[in-house]
Amino acid sequence: MQLTRLLALACAVGATLGAAERAQAATAEASTRVTMFDEPSSKNTGVRVYHPQADVSVTAASTFNVAAGYSADVVTGATPATFDVVSAATKFSDTRHLVHGGFGFEQSDGGIAFSAAYGWESDYKSFVLSGTTHHDLYEHNFTLGLAYSHNFDKVCDADNSAAAGLPLDRVALGKSSGCFTSTPGYVTHPLAIDTFEPSLSWTMTPRLVVQGGATIQILDGFQANPYRKVALGQENRTPQEHLPDFRQRYALFARMAYALPELRASTLVMLRGYDDSWAVRAFTADATGTKYLGQSMLMSIRAHYHIQSGASFYRDAIGYQTLGPAGQYWTGDRELSPMGNYLFGGKIAFFRRPQQERQSWFVEMELGAKYELLLYRPQSQFGPNPDRTFAQIVQAAFAMRF
């Protein structure tokens, strides 16, 4: 019902923007998308997330644009409260809301844009300010892009002030009902995230565009999952997950788009190398092929591969229980364990573009659907979430341009 209301709202906003377009010679776009992420478990109900999105944008006189949007995560499922060999799952549900807005200026050889986003859920609040700029060089053959964002995030946690300097005595957060209030037993930690991403695109030939760039991210603050406990040693100690407060993350990437006009198709490829101060090293490859079918249909197929090493303080459940922690930190996060991911999928989109000579209240209407299968390949059977070996991603999208 909530999703239907969102769709109706987006259509109404789109119709309003369409009227505005006729009155002010502006262009506008309204789009909605709903993604369902389903991660089944062989032991419990797994995790299911519904992610609706609605966005509108208006461009006036081809130079000034404003955009706004809303998205949410409606999460239900069960997750292991303790990372151990025989983890029992705890049921949970939560909803995250995110609103964002921004504006930008575009000229023939470049542009600049600023945006802000605010997200909130029962145990986490996030406020992000972002700025991006791009400039074309050498007759539009090169584009230099720069992006920067800063997060002012807040994380709810159990009050562990009595365990200061004694991480083995830290207790996990039980529930979020007292978060961001003055309820005793709860505290709020800050988390600052700075992300900088320079890139350079090069139009090499009439068929080929390549792009190279880097991503640098610095996180400073509480980064653990406050609910997660990790079983350490053989004395049944289960302290809260304990991660360093500081993390530096670096990535180098290359992307390419190549046109295949004989097939009315294109191929997009992305390669990425990653390293960080927690010793996670990763390589990711992503390829998408897209082809026109007739005059009003697009079909895409996609393959994605990711492989990574674990963090320096990661051990699997057996390792933590037999050897104890690897230093002063411990984790039960799958994304900090040595593992690989494979993703395969496809997308189909129908679009309608009324002929210019006809009277029409829109320029383009697009309807799309996507299915992707994500396969997890953990290195150890005693790694986090061994009961979840795959996830499915189903998405439906609707967009109108005026």
Partner: protein, 79 residues
């Protein structure tokens, strides 16, 4: 004695001319009338920002790496 640098100087000058010379740049550039294929939406590196946001949201929570999504279009210069 023959200097090993003497034979490299012309090569360096030639490379410099190729890299920084205006004529060479203009030879290598793709002209506006050659950009028909590049202007198509299926050639845009960031054609679907809303879809990309949803994808990043899923993968960032399941992979320990970030980055590589790009910050701007593919240098089409179509505007």
């Amino acid at each position: 004695m023959h200097s090993p640098f003497s034979s490299r100087v012309p090569t360096l000058i030639l490379l410099g001319a190729l890299l920084f010379g205006g004529c060479s740049i203009s030879k290598w550039t793709v002209k506006p009338h050659q950009r028909e294929l590049l202007a198509d939406k299926i050639m845009q590196l960031d054609a679907e920002p809303q879809e990309r946001e949803a994808e990043e949201h899923v993968l960032a929570n399941r992979e320990g790496a970030i980055g590589g999504t790009g910050t701007s279009g593919g240098g089409c210069g179509c505007n």
